[in-house]
Symmetry: C2
Subunit: 116 residues, 2 copies
């Protein structure tokens, strides 16, 4: 069926989290099927941590959990948009959003210097 | 350097596109280093098409190009947020956004039925 979610070769699908009230994009995480199931049943965002290779209840330790308002999938069913109410800063740095650094030409140039 | 962009094993990095005026999340695409360079130099969004395996100037054919306002990277430097002005519907279906379908328990249950 064309409507099924498409997971990548690692069984993951990228999930964008957006603040449901302000519209601010907070972070991009990855979900596997089980974390989607937990997100749907608990009403809080669960990811799959690629570094720790385990299910990750966002904010479980910090308290900065993400309360789900709406879940959307895209036209190709290979990415997810979560509209959520954040209970605190979404970023582990303490920033409200993980997107707090501008991307500049420097970001590309630097990687070239490393190759030299 | 910790600030360098981190591309995945296919040389790609996910890029969220958000309408700079309305805050609406429009789509998720993938960029390689060259498409980031083209995006920075042209001021319009270039992706790398995973299906066609080629650089993809978003909206080149349809005219629905994305004019870049701001480019951000996340705390881990492994995802990008593009704030852009869309010249038309971002989705190939004609919808303003690719995220026009709700994600429900059905999306998970269906894939289980297929395994049966």
């Amino acid at each position: 069926m064309g409507n099924n979610l498409k997971f990548n070769e690692k069984g993951l699908i990228p999930a964008i989290v957006q603040d449901a009230d302000t519209g601010e994009v907070l972070m991009l995480g990855y979900m596997n099927e089980e974390s989607i199931r937990l997100t749907l049943s608990s009403g809080e965002v669960w990811f799959y941590s690629r570094s720790r290779q385990e299910l990750w209840h966002k904010g479980e330790t910090s308290g900065n959990r993400l309360i789900v308002r709406e879940l959307w999938k895209d036209c190709d069913s290979d990415s997810i948009l979560v509209k959520a109410k954040p209970l605190g800063p979404a970023c582990h740095t303490g920033n409200k959003t993980c997107f707090f650094q501008k991307l500049t030409r420097q970001d590309i140039e630097t990687s070239h210097q490393e190759e030299a």
